[in-house]
């Protein structure tokens, strides 16, 4: 054996062996650590949480029955006879209707996004991992959906299937599947090219095992971040559908629908008529800011 490189140093003689000074922290632990130190995100997360809680607890905290009408008490301003936020065009209490409306709006904001993440995520991982023709087939189909503006697509689907809350949610789900699919596909394609996938194959792991243990963990982050940003879009689109009469049907309270019916009275009680819009605005901006905070916290260089 040539002695050109005879360096028989005992193992552990370099400081390469020194213990790292930092605490051991997993990915999710470090994400939570960063979130805890981000007061802006924490504040808006608390806002979102209280909006959700208020909607869930609507029957307990609402001062009136959301369907009780009153001929004499129509379109009253703030503070009229115990109606802190006034009344709508049928004399129903605005505060109560906003609380109940939040249930529908939030439901239509979250359910389509969750379902679309599952379906789009699975399709995206499949397309990204298998590649080749499967990828082409799935992604080009998604591109067809991409060709339409999302609002038009939602309106077209909801219009074709008829109105109603469930159909509205279905329409929104279909609208969100292509972007979710694309995010998952991009993340999967990036991961698939890395050597650790090849190393897993070399250990004899099959495709499903590799996806489960090595791909999903790396795709989950981007999909989750994107999904969280879609919640506010979904709330807005759902309100839009209801506004056009393609979503929730009256008398069920929904922010978009309330905005639609109250717009004719905008000169009578402008502040009351603007309330559903304010609710949509606050909710979606809170969701967006939380999503931004999450994105920053999850952007850990690994």
């Amino acid at each position: 054996m040539p002695d050109t490189l005879a360096i028989d140093e005992p193992l552990g003689s370099f400081d390469e062996q020194a213990a790292p000074a930092t605490r051991v922290r997993g990915y999710w632990q470090s994400v939570f650590y960063r979130l805890r130190h981000d007061p802006v995100t924490l504040f808006f997360a608390a806002m979102v949480l209280s909006i959700v809680l208020a909607a869930i607890c609507a029957p307990l905290i609402a001062p009136f029955d959301p369907y009780r009408e009153s001929i004499v008490g129509r379109l009253k301003p703030f503070g009229w006879r115990d109606h802190a936020l006034g009344t709508d065009e049928l004399g129903r209490d605005m505060l109560t209707r906003l609380l109940y409306g939040g249930r529908v709006s939030l439901l239509m904001g979250v359910v389509p996004v969750v379902v679309a993440s599952l379906i789009g995520g699975m399709l995206g991982v499949l397309a990204g991992f298998v590649g080749g023709r499967v990828n082409t087939a799935i992604m080009r189909t998604m591109d067809v959906f991409y060709a339409f503006p999302s609002v038009l697509l939602a309106v077209a689907i909801a219009g074709a299937m008829g109105g109603g809350m469930v159909n509205g949610m279905l329409a929104l789900t279909l609208v969100f599947i292509p972007p979710m699919c694309r995010v998952a596909e991009t993340a999967t394609t990036q991961v698939r090219a890395l050597d650790f996938i090849e190393a897993a194959r070399a250990s004899g792991a099959g495709a499903l095992t590799i996806i489960r243990y090595h791909v999903l963990g790396n795709v989950l982050g981007p999909v989750f971040i994107y999904a969280s940003s879609l919640v506010s879009v979904s709330i807005l689109l759902a309100s839009g559908l209801s506004f056009l009469g393609l979503g929730v049907r009256p008398p069920l309270p929904d922010w978009g629908l309330m905005l639609s019916t109250l717009r004719q009275s905008i000169y009578v009680v402008p502040l009351v008529c603007a309330l559903p819009g304010v609710a949509i605005f606050i909710t979606s901006i809170c969701c967006n800011l939380v999503s931004d905070g999450l994105r920053a916290a999850m952007d850990v260089r690994m």
Binding site: F14, D195, F196, H214, M302
Partner: protein, 353 residues
Amino acid sequence: MTSAQTALDLRFLDSRDRGGPTQPLLIARALRKHFPVKRSGGRAVQAVDGISFAVHKGETLGIVGESGCGKSTLARLLLHLIAPDAGELVFDGDAVAVPGGIAVGALRRQVQMVFQDSHASLNPRMPIRDSVAFGPFVQGKPREAARGIARDMLGKVGLDPELFGPRYPHELSGGQKQRVNIARALATDPRMVILDEPVSALDKSVEAQVLNLLRSLKRQFNLTYVFISHDLSVVRYISDRVLVMYLGRVVELGTVDAIFERPQHPYTRALLASRPSMDPTRRIDEPPIVGDPPNPIDPPAGCRFHTRCPFAEPVCASKDPPLGESGVADSHIAACHMLDPRSGHSRAGAAAA
């Protein structure tokens, strides 16, 4: 050949041995892999073009060559991570992935690989003990047993399993990550490890540590190595035999002493001459080899080296020089017309001496 003798003593200890001590552990026969280039009218990158060699039990076979000569493709072919277009693999007497032979899965239970990029070959979202335990787990060990193996292997590569096991790859240095990759490769108890440039991305001091670790693990686990590198000093340090590749072909194969002391092929000589000298009076200004390797999409006809060879003659451009058979363990063969007295090259026969 002391190392070959040590191997001879040890190889009877392996209960999985089928072919006996003289049966090479892995034989590659006429392996070929061409990557088609899109929109080129059916042309292909001839990454590996008819490579044959044998890896004997207990040895370290070094594979050297310039960037882009097909070293990494060859490594992946040996593990069947990519399927060859033609040719066959024989593992310990059994043909791989053909009817009557052993399956690819059986091959991968006995052959493992360490990659060059120590960071990319670890899952960033997985604690390293889980990365090491993944192999045994996939091959049917219960979760707890796999974790036990991982602890054991991390200790064997010099990382404290309690301290490093729960850590994530980004918390480790390059050398530590490569130790983890070695532990991961050894966790499934392979008989052969393919090391694809395992130290090329490491600092020199860490490189020496990892090389020594590899040598001691080889003794400890009775391993056979295929060591791919472009670093001639490293290959000389670790190998028993060396295979020199040029543009997807084998140009020379022999024991480490034969290759480094008596290189026969002009390309091997040029490679060896390109090493910087430690002696300031012997420093050279002229590069021993000029130009880049030709495009592997359109490799030159005949001897692929003739475009850069100082001794090239018309015969080199027309006839493919034969490599010869590597029957005996320490035979020294080279694919050059100058070594074949009947080739018609004017220097034929003279250069062999």
